[in-house]
Symmetry: D2
Subunit: 260 residues, 4 copies
C-alpha cells in the first residue's frame, strides 16, 4: 500500500509543527496527596517535518498517547517526547496536555471536605533540551479596593481566573502554585462552604481588597522568592460584577535574563 506521506516534497518548505490536536484521552498523573489521580485530558502532540517529506504519520501520535496514558506525569514527559521523536524520526517533539486537576480542600472553619477543580496544562517540548511549562488556572475571589474606598458600605467583588505559567529547575507541585495564588487573592474558593465558612470568607475578602493589578504583583513577589521557579507569566482576568466584561492584567519575568 502506497505511503503518500513519505513521498519526496519539492516545495522545499520546512514545517515547524505537524501532528494531532484536541484528542480527548483518559490519563493518570501524579498527585501530591494520593500518589496519582485519574483525569481526562485534551491532548496535542506535534513534531517538526523536514522540507523533503510530504507528510507525517498521524496514527503514530495516537499509538504513543495510548502507550503512555497511565503515566502522563511530569517525570515521564521527557521520555514520551523522546519516544515521539524516535517513532516519527523528528528533531523536535511537542506535547500539550490540558486537564482538570482536583484538590481535596477543607472549608476554613467547619473543615468540611470537597474537591475544587483547577484547569492545568503540561506544555513540553524536546529539541536538544527538554523544555517544560506548567500552566495552572486558579479561580479566586477579588474584592475591588476602589469600590470599598468610595462606598459608604459594601464593595463589589467577583470570581476571577488567575492563569500562571511557570518554568522550574526543581519540582513545584500544582498544589504549591495554587496555594501561592490563593494567598495573593482577596479569598480562595471552595466547592463546599457552610455558613460559618461563608462569614469568614466574606469578611476576609472585605479586609483584603485587591485589584487585578494587585494580585499579579503579589503573586510575582512570591514567585520571585521561590528559587525553583526560573520563569513565569501571571495573567488575571476578573469577571467584573458591575460590568459585562472583564478587567485584565498581565506580567511575565525571565529570571535568567534579569540576573544578567
Amino acid at each position: 500500500m502506497k505511503d503518500v506521506q513519505s513521498e519526496k516534497d519539492k516545495r522545499n518548505i520546512f514545517i515547524e509543527k505537524v501532528g494531532v490536536s484536541s484528542i480527548k484521552y483518559p490519563i493518570r498523573i501524579m498527585d501530591k496527596q494520593n500518589g496519582f489521580q485519574n483525569t481526562v485530558a485534551l491532548v496535542d502532540i506535534y513534531v517538526d517535518l523536514p522540507s523533503e517529506y510530504r507528510g507525517t504519520h498521524m496514527s503514530r501520535f495516537v499509538e504513543i498517547l495510548n502507550k503512555h496514558r497511565n503515566n502522563m506525569s511530569l517525570s515521564n514527559l521527557e521520555k514520551i517526547l523522546d519516544d515521539t521523536k524516535q517513532q516519527l524520526r523528528a528533531k523536535v517533539a511537542h506535547i500539550v496536555l490540558r486537564f482538570p486537576y482536583f484538590i481535596l480542600k477543607k472549608a476554613p472553619i467547619t473543615k468540611e471536605e470537597s474537591f475544587m477543580d483547577y484547569e492545568c496544562a503540561f506544555i513540553a517540548s524536546k529539541n536538544e533540551k527538554f523544555d517544560f511549562v506548567l500552566e495552572v488556572n486558579v479561580p479566586v475571589h477579588l474584592l475591588c479596593p476602589c469600590s470599598k474606598e468610595i462606598s459608604d458600605f459594601g464593595a463589589h467583588n467577583q470570581r476571577a481566573n488567575i492563569r500562571v505559567k511557570v518554568k522550574m529547575d526543581r519540582l513545584v507541585w500544582i498544589e504549591e502554585i495554587v496555594e501561592m495564588v490563593e494567598n495573593s487573592a482577596s479569598a480562595p474558593l471552595y466547592a463546599l462552604l457552610k455558613r460559618p465558612d461563608e462569614k469568614y470568607i466574606t469578611e476576609k475578602a472585605y479586609m483584603n481588597p485587591k485589584f487585578v493589578e494587585d494580585i499579579v504583583r503579589d503573586v510575582s513577589i512570591l514567585f520571585d522568592k521561590d528559587e525553583r521557579i526560573t520563569y513565569y507569566e501571571i495573567e488575571a482576568i476578573s469577571y467584573e460584577s458591575i460590568h459585562n466584561h472583564s478587567a485584565y492584567a498581565y506580567l511575565h519575568r525571565d529570571k535568567n535574563s534579569y540576573n544578567k
Copy 2:
C-alpha cells in the same frame, strides 16, 4: 441532474425537523431607540419532512435567509416562515435567530453613555398558527442576602445571567424585558461607570440583596402584571464569587393554563 432528495422513501418515518443550523449571517432587526439595528445572528431554519420523501433541499433555506436578512424583525417572521413552508412544500416551519442586541445606556449618576450587549433569540414556528418566543439574556449584579446577614461587614456578590423566555399577544420590546429584569436585580450592569456611578451601584446593591430565588420570583411578579405576556420562563444562573460553580433557579408559568 438527479434529485436524490426527492426519491421515494420506503421507511415510512416522518421527520419533525430538518434543515440548516448554526449559519452565521449579518441581519437587521427593529430597535426601539433608532428604528433598526445591524447585528450578526446564528441561525437555524427547519421544516418537517413527510415520510414519503428521502430528504429536504438544504440550499433553499439559505436562499430564504439571504432574501430576508435586512428585515429579520418580529413583524416579518411569520412571512419568512410562510415563505419557508412554500419553498420547501412543508406543513411546519421553524426559525431560531440568536444575536447580540445592543442598548445605549446612561450611567446612573454621570449619565455617560455606552452600549450594553444582551444575547437575545427569536424562536418562531408556524404550523396552522404562528408561535413566537422571545428569549432575552440579562446579565445583572446579585448580592447574597445570607452573606450580608451573617457577616460583620461586606457581602459576596457576583455577575448573574437571567435568561427569560416570553410569549406575548401584543409587542413587548427587548428594552422593556431588560428593564423589568434589571429592576428585579441587586443592581443593573453598564459597560461604562465613572467613580460616582460605581459608588451608587455598590451601595444600591448592598441595600438590595437578592438570592437567585428572589430574582426569579420578583421578575415573575412583574411578568404576571404585564397583560401582554401570556407565557414565561425565568432562569437565573449566578456565577458565585465564593465558589467555582453557579447557583440556579428556574420557574415557568402559562397564564392560559392557570386561569382555567
Copy 3:
C-alpha cells in the same frame, strides 16, 4: 447564626428548580468492559422550593455529590435523588451529570486498540416516580448521497454528531447505544487507524452514503425494535464540509403514546 434561607416568604411563588449548576467533579461510573470507569463530570442538582420558603441550602447539594461521587452509576441514581429530597426536604429532585465516556475500540482491519470519547449525560429526576434519560453523543462519518450521485468521482463527507436521548425499562448500556448509532452511519470513527483501516473506512463510507435524514430514520428503526427502549429522541448535526454551517435532522418517539 441567622438562617436567611429559612425565612418565611410572602410572595407566594413556587419555584420548580433551585440548586447548584456546572460543578465539575471527579466521578466513577459503571463500565461494560471493566466494571467501572473514572471520569470527570459537570453536574447540576436541583430541588423544588415551596412558596413559603425564601431559599434553599446550596451547600447540601455539594455534600450529597461528595458523598456519592464514587458510585454515580445508573443503579445508584434513584438513591442519590432520594437522599437529595430528604436532605433538602423537597418533593422533587433533579440531577444531570455530563461526562466523557471512553470505549476501547479495535481498528476494523489491523485491530489496533485506542480509546474513543463519547460525551454522555445522565438526566434523572424523582417526584413520586423515578425518571431517567440517557443521552449519548456519537460522532460518526457521513457521506452525502446527493454529492455521490451527481459527481463523476468522489463525494463530500464529514464528521457529524448524533445525539440520542433514550428512556428505558431495562438497562441499555452506553456501548449498545453507540453500536446502534455507528451501524446506522456511513462509517464509525476511531482514534487510531492504520492505512489498511483507513482504506476500509473510506470505501465502506463511499458504499454507504447517508443524509442526516437517513441516519435519524435508520437509528429510529433500531430503537423501535429494541423493546427495552420506551422513548427516544434522535438529533443529527452534520458539520458539512462544503459549507461553514451544519445540516440538521430531529425526530422523537414515545412508544407508550403510539401504542395507544
Copy 4:
C-alpha cells in the same frame, strides 16, 4: 472622591498589560466591496502600568472604544492607540478586535449569491512604533491524499480551519487573504450551493487532494511571493471526518530575518 488607582505603589513591579477584556461592541470597519461593514466585535484594550502606580483607570478604555466605534478600520487603529496612550498616560497601548467579517460570494457555477463568514482579528499595539497583525480564519474543504491513493473509490474529506496571521507594509485586504488561502485548499466553502455547484466542488476537491502539510506549504508560497507581506504564521486545523480529533500543521516566517 478618593482615587485609589492613583495611589503610590511600593512593590516596584512594572505591569506589561492592564485594561479591559472581552467587551462586546457594535463596530463599523472598512469593506472592499461596499466601503464599510457593520459587525460585532469582542474587544481587548490594554496599556502598560509603571511600577509607581497602583492601578489603571478602566472606564477610560470604554470611553475610547465608544468614541471610535464607527471607524474601527485599520487606517484608524494607530490614532485609537495614540488616543489610548494619551488618555491613560501610558507608554504602550494594545488593542485586539475579534469580529466575524462577511464576504458576498457567488456560487461557482450557478453564480447564486450568499454571505460567508470569516472570523478575523485586528491585533495592534503602539510603543514608539505601530505594530499591526491581521488574523483571518478561513474555513476550507480538505480531501485526504492518502485516503484517495489507497482506496479503490472515494476519499475522506472534511472542513478545516486555516488561521493566518500577517504583518504587512502596504494594505492587504481580508478579501485577498481569503482568496489566497481558498486557492490553496482542495475547495473553498460557500453558504449557498445548488446541485451543479455541489458537483463542481466535489469533483474539484477529488482532483485536488491536500494534507494539512500541503495547505500550509502552498499558502506559504503565495505569501512569500506577495511583497506587501513582511511576516506570517499559517496554522491548519483539519476536523478529520474519520477521527474525533484534528490534524494540525503550523509554520511561520519573518521575511526580514531570512533575508539577512
